[in-house]
Amino acid sequence: MNLAQLGLLEQSIFVLVALALFLSFVLLSQARLTTMIHVFAWQGFLLALLTAIVAALGDNPHLYISALLTFLLKVLLIPAMLHRLIRRLELERHQERLQKQALVMMAGAALVIFSYWVVLPITHMELAHIRNVVSLSLAIVQLGMLLMVARRQVVAQVIGFMSMENGLFLAAVAATAGMPLVVELGIAFDVLVAAVLFGVFFFHIRDSIDTLDVDQLTRLSEEER
């Protein structure tokens, strides 16, 4: 495949996807919650932009709706909610101690390679570059998971969860020009409900165990109590 055969707009899709991947890494290495939320919003912005470009390229008017939806939900609403939450939880200046930072980053790079390897067998499709974008979006999903595993702070975990969602959305837009509208609305609704629930949970967790550190969530395990 040759990049030069594609138009500038198609090339810009690659750049946006690569930047979104980079932002996932930034999320992984960022200790400050406020900055994480900003980065998450930027990732959402890249996604909305990319959706709009795909809509313009493929003449998919319904993608404009999901671009707008993404923009409203992931750039404005959810970051605003998270900001409000951490203000109310008095976590604005919270800075997490990152553990095994270099190891996590290397694991992240390994996950990118793993994601590529997973989708590599899809060779017969005429559009190889779509497959490549899918592999990067899978990588974003896996990085979101890694973030949730590596972080002990519940707000950071939620951001990981949401960025995982971003990766899935990216895969849907890149691979199949979006899902059918019913499904897309359903997913957006689920994300919104999940975001609200997360907010409720922050307070529950803080009220019941006085901290938002997941390491304190150890009452339930198979070990002897």
């Binding site: 060779t123 899918v134 899978l138 979101g144 949730m148 995982m164 059918p180 019913v182 409900v193 949970f201």
Partner: protein
């Protein structure tokens, strides 16, 4: 079709209605009413399906595979609603749950029913994903309803693990849609199950294989397959008991249902490749591991609800394994197993709910001598556990026996593992059961107000299925077997 809309509409309306009803007693009765009406609608629907074969349009699909699950879901929904009314009232009297939370509880109860029924009856794999995720969201609030640190922790684990898992399933769904778009005339229909089934042989095998792995991991988290099961015992043990009954009896089935639907597509897509049974082998592996490991974990449980949630993992593993073997006999066994396990497990959880109220704790060591304090509960637990452990004449014996037969035919060596696993699980259950039922009664333990009618009905049904399976049920299951494995048993 109208019966379907009524069946789906009732819980949806109920979910909104219960937010507004402040009277807890009234809400409890209304909850039973709504559930009973849904059951009636689903029976009508089943009648229609029996007369005309499958019903479908662009959005909904009711065929022989999901109709029995629909009836089962509404039925267990009703019995749980009957049980939950006095149970939750008792909880309220203990002061563990305020009126506001009771409104939430009833509303979420019906939302949960709605999402499950929609998941079963939808014709769209994307909507299936949305509703399974919706069911998670509905139950998260229910798991944490007591607001104890343990409950909040369990709900958080449940939320995060299932969220992560289900995200993998969405990725699988996207890949499936991707594969479908390249073969369908109208790519917009790429998630429509009936359309997909017609074109399943043309779907790209490589994409389908990858998609299936993601879907299995995703929905497998919800089934509780080892090693993705961590959330399940926590959520079951810390949530209110009616919730445990529904999670165990219904939600796990729905996740398995989703996997099987996808497996049907994958099998037909992979038929011409070198690994035509990849999907089946994966299911067998996951199922067997879940079955054996959960059986071992039964032995070291101290919490009665955790004990039975591990038993759920074990039985879902068994059903997954059976679907993995494929072929008419094993598929029949799997479908039957899903049915009898749901009935038995929900009745066990109902009994366990009463038993914990009698003893005032969920700790197995402090639940003693139930049969003397309250014979109905003691006998109920005894029969329930006998049924779940696979004693004849209960239905689980039948399904496990059929499964063993199928395994002997195709994978004789694995039947040894199955027998060992059944033995381990049996011992694990009974070493805990015996002192709970027969042990010395602690001082001051007194009977509570119980309603054992649902338990009795469910256990009688399980015996009925075990002794003499009604012809219409056998017919349904056989049609479903035909649908899934391509040829009928009877």
């Amino acid at each position: 079709m109208n019966a379907l809309y009524v069946m789906l509409g009732l819980p949806a309306v109920g979910a909104i209605l219960f937010v507004a009803i402040h009277n807890t007693r009234l809400a409890g009765w209304l909850n039973i009413g709504v559930s009973a009406a849904s059951l009636a609608a689903s029976v009508l629907l089943a009648w229609a399906v029996m007369q005309q074969g499958s019903l479908h349009n662009d959005n909904f699909l009711v065929d022989s595979f999901n109709i029995y699950l629909l009836v089962l879901t509404t039925f267990v929904g009703l019995t749980t609603a009957i049980f939950s009314r006095p149970y939750m009232q008792h909880v309220c009297e203990e002061g563990r749950c305020s009126t506001v939370r009771m409104r939430l509880y009833h509303s979420m109860f019906q939302s949960f029913m709605f999402t499950m029924l929609l998941a079963l009856s939808t014709n769209n794999l994307g909507v299936l994903w949305v509703t399974v995720e919706g069911a998670t969201l509905a139950t998260v609030m229910l798991v944490s309803i007591y607001r104890t640190p343990e409950a909040v922790e369990a709900a958080w684990k449940y939320f995060i693990l299932c969220g992560v898992g289900i995200a993998q399933a969405l990725f699988g769904t996207i890949l499936l849609y991707f594969a479908a778009q390249h073969v369908l005339v109208n790519p917009e229909e790429g998630l429509n199950w009936l359309t997909l089934q017609q074109h399943s042989a043309e779907l790209s095998p490589t994409v389908m294989a990858i998609a299936f792995v993601f879907l299995l991991v995703g929905y497998g988290t919800k089934i509780g397959l080892v090693p993705l099961h961590q959330w399940l015992p926590d959520a079951h043990s810390e949530g209110p008991t009616p919730m445990s009954a529904m999670l165990s009896g219904l939600l796990l089935n729905i996740a398995l249902y989703a996997v099987i639907r996808v497996k049907m597509l994958t099998d037909s897509s992979l038929a011409a490749t070198q690994h035509p049974h990849m999907a089946g082998h994966l299911l067998m592996g996951f199922g067997l591991i879940s079955f054996l490991i959960a059986g071992l974990f039964l032995h070291r449980q101290r919490d009665i609800k955790r004990l039975f949630s591990y038993s759920s993992i074990e039985h879902m593993g068994l059903a997954t394994f059976a679907f993995g073997i494929g072929g008419p006999l094993a598929t029949f066994a799997a479908l039957l197993h899903m049915l009898v396990h749901s009935l038995t497990k929900s009745s066990i959880f109902i009994t366990v709910g009463h038993a914990t109220h009698i003893a005032g704790t969920q700790n197995i060591e402090h639940i003693r001598g139930l049969i003397r304090t309250q014979p109905t509960v003691g006998w109920g637990l005894l029969f329930g556990v006998a049924a779940i452990a696979g004693f004849p004449p209960f239905g689980i014996f039948t399904s496990e026996f059929l499964l063993l037969n199928a395994t002997m035919q195709s994978w004789p060596w694995l039947s040894v593992l199955l027998l060992i696993g059944l033995g381990i699980a049996f011992a694990g259950l009974f070493r805990h059961l015996h002192p709970m039922v027969y042990g010395a009664t602690p001082e001051g333990q007194s009977a509570v107000k119980v309603n054992m009618i649902p338990v009795a009905i469910q256990l009688l049904l399980v015996i009925w299925i075990g002794l003499a399976m009604p012809a219409f049920l056998a017919g349904w299951l056989d049609q479903a077997v035909q649908l899934i494995s391509g040829k009928g048993l009877l």
